[in-house]
Symmetry: C2
Subunit: 226 residues, 2 copies
């Protein structure tokens, strides 16, 4: 179900996860160039409890991709039928193809304590929030300055001024939705920013309402007279 | 205003606090013996941005105490007048004396970005939450088991069985209010528990709604075309 398998957790983490808890949907959004992809990759690599959900898509499979691991590859007809049946948590058209998050997969995972990472824009974020509000944690990453953003978007200097201007315009449009997020982190330094995003994830896991195992734990605590 | 002066913050912390933010009220509650006092002391010692608010009290000053640092010492008449005027965020009678948190002090501090730590029970927590809901973060610390709690409450073994039974009864009564908190941490290990409480505090500081400086930051980011 998840694209990366939960790995062995460190001792400290084991202690914290003795009690059952409901998973959460961790949304990372940012303008392109603000560091989101680096942070998402590190979270997936270092945190054994969070995974990407596997999206359904109408785009053709590429060499090396595996159906059900990278994507659930499907036809336009089937995708449209899933949309009509309300089987997506969120979906979007990107460059002529459709991508969507199947509801059933995520709902089962959340119940079992699996956290999901979503690297999506503000529109996808809004769709998820409308459908599963209490499970969603929305984090927006901001660049430290517009000059630094331009530097990152300029890349190796091989792109035309026009292409860079378009990228800047898209970045500005994305930034304008910063106030639809629960948390905001300014990426002055990628390691510090990663640390802050990890702290948000760790804290949200400790919310009382997610720790479904607490009810039995407290009942035992109150009831026993050992 | 605060009983401990904010000290120099580490570099990582400085970077995160470039933007102005509104302070928060961090409530730690737990049954006696669950580790709350140790964690509160460590937070105050290691975190330069959080302080205890100075309570007003009708109890007499003790040797070594300083008015305005340890408490605002006041008369029963004056305390009662402050209660009538609604000048307390929360107040309570404990062992024949009154204690209360003056509203004006905390409100000014929060505006200036000062965080306050409250080591109070569920009733005080409820009072604070009713008055300044958006500024309050409530954390409940649970003992790992009733046996461990009894061990901690038994202390040096000099207390009578009756006294210990009373303590256990009070602890059970406090635990029964665990579901009035935003976060719950089980104290299996004091260092891990302290780390978790620190993560909650760090994450809550990154809430968009507390980072009042973001509005200007984003305006500059969007407006500048450097």
């Amino acid at each position: 179900m998840a694209s990366n398998t939960p790995s062995a957790a460190p001792a400290a983490d084991v202690l914290s996860d003795v009690l059952h808890r409901r998973g959460l949907m961790f949304i990372l959004s940012s303008p392109s160039g603000a560091g989101k992809t680096t942070i998402a990759r590190r979270l997936l690599a270092e945190d054994g409890h969070i995974a990407m959900s596997v999206s359904a898509t109408t785009r053709p499979m590429r060499p090396g991709e595996v159906d059900g691991r990278d994507y659930h590859f499907t036809t336009r007809e089937n995708f449209a039928a899933m949309v009509d049946a309300g089987e997506f948590l969120e979906w979007a058209h990107v460059f002529g193809h459709s991508y969507g998050t199947p509801k059933a997969q995520v709902k089962t995972g959340l119940r079992e304590g699996q956290d999901y990472l979503f690297d999506i824009d503000w529109q996808g974020s809004q769709q998820l929030h409308q459908k599963l509000e209490r499970d969603v944690v929305r984090v927006f990453i901001l660049p430290p300055s517009i000059d630094e953003l331009r530097r990152r978007l300029t890349g190796r200097g091989t792109d035309s001024a026009e292409v860079i201007a378009q990228r800047m315009e898209r970045a500005r449009a994305e930034i304008s939705h910063w106030d639809g997020y629960d948390y905001v982190v300014v990426n002055y330094d990628i390691d510090i920013c990663f640390g802050k995003v990890s702290e948000i994830l760790a804290a949200e896991r400790m919310r009382r309402t997610r720790q479904t195992g607490l009810i039995d734990f407290v009942r035992d605590l109150m009831g026993s007279d050992g």
